[in-house]
């Protein structure tokens, strides 16, 4: 009898404690402090992965036969603003990529000028934060070449990508997509401003006319519809302060894992 009582007591204790712990975990998940604490796991991953993966360690490249018949688009499928639609209509003839911020020589690039620069073509695997993967062939200009022309100043630490797609679901506010990379990732040989997918101009769903490819990162780092590259010292005072649209929604800035 005593045994049965103890057993019942222990069972209740276990079930009760588990429920309390899980409720506590939900509370931590809701608090900003809790999330900041948990994000230290990802900060540590950033530091350790930087040690593990050398500056130029390449993401695996695949064969032509591995290319997916349709490259799965995600996020914004069409910015669909009046301005963007006009660009689509004109074949992006007037699209400009403004290189600005902490650089010696700010300049603007048209699509034709971008296409005239030395390019890199790579067949790589795109890994979405959701868990799926898709292989495509990207052609574009290595960012290191563009930045070499702009000459970043000494205090430049991050590259901020400005995009044309508005993420806001509310018609009265504008929340343009943006992203940041550190200089190691920006100067990586496979980090390109891509304008072709599988040998054809980028489709609208995949970021026409220009998107970022940072092949050692998850998909949300690879900004689409890019119209500006700005070098900054810190992103703490930009928008939500977390270095990207999804980062401001709680995703970690380091997307190497």
């Amino acid at each position: 009898m005593a045994d049965a009582n103890r057993r019942k007591f222990l069972t209740r204790l276990t079930v009760g404690a588990s429920a309390a712990i899980l409720a506590g975990c939900d509370k931590i998940s809701q608090s900003a402090g809790g999330q900041d604490f948990l994000k230290r796991g990802s900060d540590l991953a950033y530091k350790v992965q930087r040690l593990f993966a050398g500056r130029d360690a390449l993401a695996p490249e695949y064969a032509k036969s591995d290319i997916a018949p349709v490259f799965r688009p995600n996020g914004t499928l069409n910015p669909d603003s009046d301005d963007y639609n006009a660009h689509v209509k004109s074949g992006f003839r007037d699209w400009r990529i403004k290189v600005s911020g902490l650089v010696e020589h700010p300049f603007e690039l048209s699509l034709a000028q971008l296409r005239a620069m030395p390019s890199r073509t790579q067949i790589t695997r795109h890994d979405c934060v959701e868990g799926w993967s898709c292989i495509g062939e990207w052609t574009g200009v290595p960012l290191r070449n563009i930045l070499a022309r702009a000459k970043p100043k000494e205090n430049a630490r991050y590259v901020l990508f400005h995009c044309a797609d508005d993420m806001s679901s509310d018609k009265n506010t504008v929340q343009l997509y943006y992203e940041t990379l550190d200089l190691v990732e920006t100067f990586h040989p496979q980090t390109i401003l891509a304008y072709d997918l599988n040998g054809k101009p980028l489709p609208v769903a995949n970021g026409a006319p220009v998107r970022l490819r940072a092949e050692r990162q998850l998909g949300y780092k690879m900004a689409k519809y890019v119209n500006g590259i700005e070098l900054v010292e810190s992103f703490a005072n930009i928008r939500g302060g977390n270095g990207g649209y999804w980062e401001d929604q709680g995703y970690t800035w380091w997307a190497g894992i």
Partner: protein, 281 residues
């Protein structure tokens, strides 16, 4: 712990023996908590794309397993789980389950995920924080087990153990558990179970987890070769998680069947009560 050792455990023939060292007990409980968080935050992450594939990439038309939701003509939402081409109505648990009283499309149900509501971002934060503790605890345990000879003495199945396999399986099926000094070391099924989860499933789940990281794939491309591509690694990671669940269920059933209070005392205080062997009694 007085209340645990009173009454039934006080029969005169029984004696208390020191069984689990402090380090084993700490590693056990740290791991118990961490694994629960890893499993539930892992199911949260899985829910962001509740489908599994084989190979380098996702063949969206032919997943190995997927959890989907469909809206019936009468407006009800049904959860359908596909395994290959076979499908099952799993409404309420997989594919679609109740949140705030409403059936909603969702891979695993709210009670199984951390946080309970849909949030890939927060699920990832939990997963990647506690992954560090899982790995550090595992490495500390492995180093301790090796240096203290716990590994060689208690966990590694020996030839003599394998010879006992048939008898041991029969004993388990008859729910006849070792008594006396036989209860002081692990039997062969225990050794196989503990050895596999600690030295096979745990390293495998960590390595397949790392294989999903695009930066790790650049740092160590061999990972992709060894595990057969990122999506195969993801599927293996999922299977390892459920190997842990399977182990946990059997572990708990065995704990309950072979004297739950004594077992609980042993893994908390380190001391276990030994009954005299039948032939000696």
């Amino acid at each position: 712990m007085a209340f645990l050792s009173s009454a039934a455990d006080d029969a005169p023939e029984k004696r208390l023996v020191y069984r689990h060292t402090l380090w084993v007990r700490i590693a056990h409980w740290v791991n118990a908590g961490v694994l629960l968080i890893m499993l539930m935050s892992g199911l949260q992450i899985f829910n962001a794309h509740p489908a599994l594939y084989w190979g380098a990439t996702s063949h969206f038309d032919s997943p190995l397993l997927s959890m989907t939701a469909i809206r019936m003509p009468d407006g009800r939402i049904e959860g359908i789980t596909w395994i290959g081409r076979a499908h099952f109505d799993t409404t309420g648990v997989l594919g679609a389950s109740e949140i705030f009283g409403q059936v909603t499309p969702r891979g695993f149900p709210a009670w199984a995920t951390l946080p309970s509501w849909q949030s890939l971002a927060v699920g990832r934060q939990w997963h990647f924080f506690f992954a560090w503790i899982f790995v550090l605890n595992g490495l500390a345990f492995a180093a301790y087990a090796f240096l203290s000879r716990h590994f060689n003495r208690d966990l590694l199945p020996k030839t003599a153990d394998i010879r006992n396999l048939g008898k041991d399986i029969l004993d388990h099926l008859r729910l006849r558990f070792p008594k006396g000094k036989e209860a002081l070391h692990y039997n062969v099924l225990q050794k196989l179970a503990y050895f596999s989860v600690i030295y096979i499933v745990a390293p495998l789940i960590v390595l397949t987890g790392l294989t999903m990281s695009p930066t790790m794939d650049a740092a160590i491309p061999q990972l992709l070769f060894v595990f057969g591509g990122r999506q195969t690694a993801r599927t293996t990671h999922f299977l390892c998680a459920f190997a842990f669940v399977g182990f946990f269920i059997i572990h708990i059933v065995m704990v309950v069947l072979s004297g739950p209070l004594n077992n609980l005392r042993a893994i908390i205080t380190g001391r276990t009560a030994i009954e005299p062997e039948a032939e000696n009694g």
